[in-house]
Amino acid sequence: MSTLWVVIVAVTLASAAIKAAGPVLSGGREFSPRVNAVIALLTPALLTALVVTGTFGEGGRLALDERALGVGVAAVALALRAPVLVAVVLAAVVTALARLFLG
């Protein structure tokens, strides 16, 4: 358990520092446009990796299962401009139903 607490403390301090850095320093210098462009692309890159690993990752391998079906339905809903809540609930409901009837 102490491992977990080390992670919690480290992540909390690092996150707080990361959040504070921009506003505390923002009175001063600006980064180059290229650096800003890289930083801006971190968000979609990270979100993409989270979607991929969360949808297809299964204990160190790729899996195409009920969860992928649920997320796929959510993707269609989002493409059709459904609200986030609707898409997220759909993902869970479809995944649960698929496991119930297909699993």
């Binding site: 919690i8 996150s15 921009g22 923002s26 290229r34 993409t48």
Partner: protein, 229 residues
């Protein structure tokens, strides 16, 4: 002075209203985080404290995913920190609109979360500070209360995390944020997304837990190329 205070509280309230629908999603995700944390043997206190002091769904799920898959401490911390690296550019963008000296600005910056930050964007690169802080309040409450509910949920009810399809919620949630990024982004946002997808997919079967997410960040280096749009 009174006018300013009045405007301020209106901004906070408007932000809180705007944050409410997101708080519903956050609450559901938080319950699933609590259930997941308990299923990993984290006990009751640690997941709740984690949510109270960190409040970062992405980072906390990353930690749970890495540690749950047997990954090391360093990988777990690095994954969470890299996931939260997005708060650096977000903070730089919103920074000029926060108030006070360094300490107060640092404290106000703790209310930066992805949805609130996005909700607070105004035209011309401006940000509505009070709106952002207000939008974070219901989401923070939903996150901490939801985590507590998930951790304490009876084993026969919410305990079966996968049977209820709750594991599909976070990729769907991240996908919703990603689609928002793609809709508002430039051409190279699409390129970075595609590259990140390829990197993550290729690395999941061969790399240790957490590494696919870290490595996919390399796609952001596409930002070094001259912008075409």
């Amino acid at each position: 002075m009174r006018n300013e205070a009045g405007r301020g509280s209106e901004g906070y309230l408007a932000g809180m209203r705007a944050g409410l629908p997101f708080a519903l999603v956050v609450g559901v995700v938080a319950i699933s985080f609590g259930v997941l944390a308990r299923s990993l043997g984290w006990g009751v206190l640690a997941p709740i404290v984690f949510s109270v002091v960190t409040y970062s769904a992405a980072a906390q799920f990353a930690v749970a995913t890495v540690l749950g898959a047997g990954g090391g401490v360093f990988v777990a911390i690095a994954a969470a920190v890299l996931l939260n690296a997005r708060f650096l550019p977000m903070g730089m963008a919103v920074g000029p609109f926060l108030k006070g000296g360094p300490l107060r600005r640092a404290l106000e910056a703790q209310t930066i979360i992805t949805t609130s930050w996005a909700l607070a964007i105004r035209t011309g690169g401006r940000f509505d500070r009070a709106f952002m802080i207000g939008a974070t309040v219901p989401q923070y409450l939903a996150w901490t209360v939801g985590t507590t509910v998930g951790v304490l949920a009876p084993a026969g009810g919410l305990g079966d995390f996968e049977r209820l399809g709750l594991d599909a919620i976070f990729p769907a949630f991240f996908l919703a944020l990603l689609i928002g990024e793609l809709r508002s982004g430039q051409k190279r946002t699409i390129a970075a997304t595609a590259l990140a997808a390829v990197l993550a997919t290729a690395l999941v079967p061969i790399a240790p837990p957490g590494i696919p997410v870290l490595a996919a960040c390399g796609a952001a280096l596409l930002g070094l190329r001259e912008s075409s749009s």
